[in-house]
Symmetry: C2
Subunit: 199 residues, 2 copies
Amino acid sequence: MKKDKDASTEEKIIEAARKVFTRKGYAATRTRDIAQESGLNLALLNYYFRSKEKLFEIIMAEKVVQLFGTIAPIVNNMDTSLEKKAGDIADAYITMLVNNPGLPLFVLSEIRNNPQMFGDKIHAGKILTESYFVKQIQERRPDINPLHLMLNLLGMSIFPFICQPVLEGANVITGRAFESLVAERKNLIGIWFNALLEA
Amino acid sequence: MKKDKDASTEEKIIEAARKVFTRKGYAATRTRDIAQESGLNLALLNYYFRSKEKLFEIIMAEKVVQLFGTIAPIVNNMDTSLEKKAGDIADAYITMLVNNPGLPLFVLSEIRNNPQMFGDKIHAGKILTESYFVKQIQERRPDINPLHLMLNLLGMSIFPFICQPVLEGANVITGRAFESLVAERKNLIGIWFNALLEA
DNA sequence: CTACAATTTAATCATTTGATTAATACATTT
DNA sequence: AAATGTATTAATCAAATGATTAAATTGTAG
């Protein structure tokens, strides 16, 4: 008797599900799309993962970690300055998002479509309210809500990727040029954040 | 013979469709949801608007105009300074988005799910590349791509609303407090944008 | 090799879903 | 009021969709 179900088949399904779910979202995804993308029989999805919903939960959990976990080690580093952290956060996000440009729109849309599904599972809360980075912001600028500066930093890093489909669709900037633009931002956002700290 | 089909019924369907489509997205929306939301018979959707898709196109066109048209008059105003325009843009967006918080995520998601549907229909292209506002940015800072500053300004204005479901879900900030926060930003973004112009 | 368990497949099921239809109700014109 | 066109409804259809099943295939242990 085989102890493990075939890891390769399971992994093929996960890979296909990751691709299709993140490209089309949960509601627009057909289990048959995933089967075709994986090259496997439709019934195997239910054999290895009970249902479309269970399969989605796996992908979603993975993507939530990818989106919110990227900066977790940075924001709680006790050994770096506020300015250094800001630059590191922008760099970490942009580096990751260049390889996963659709990630933010996917995760944020699905959370919006099913808010109750993500009660406390998201450590975004702690990052935005209890992290060492936030404390450093509060020390520097006790006069304003630190969430303002967090939103500015995250927006400068993430928002371009959220807009990418529009930028491409409207021929504002395409493929290669987009990547150059966001690469520039890896360095610029640190500078800009410093300016915002003074403003 | 009645010349006009009953405007009231047509409008009830549009209103219900607007509510359901923007809340759940095209793929997750059932025509029966719209019928129920409107309190009308399901067949009336097809009687007045041929299909789910046609009905969606109407709502989508409306929402695209709402999202991209909000700042169109501002960015091409020849009589205001760069600084004034930045503040006006933030104010106009935030004022509109407080009443339509789900708008950006809805429009951007649908464009992402169906990019070819919006070839040139979107004047976002002109706003981001040919507007008088962009020219003013270029004059002031010929050393950097003006798209950087456009993305920063739009991101500071719009990104908080894209994150709202996460902020609420993670109890970072809720309902009333969120509205206060973004209201503060109406004034702050102008100041911040000036700081970015100097940075 | 044989027997047994795990995997894979094609066919099928029960619901859901967008759409249509035929009958009925309502309004307007003459 | 009769006739005609418009609006609304309940019932129904066909296709799509998530899931299951029973049979076939493959792999493994004894």
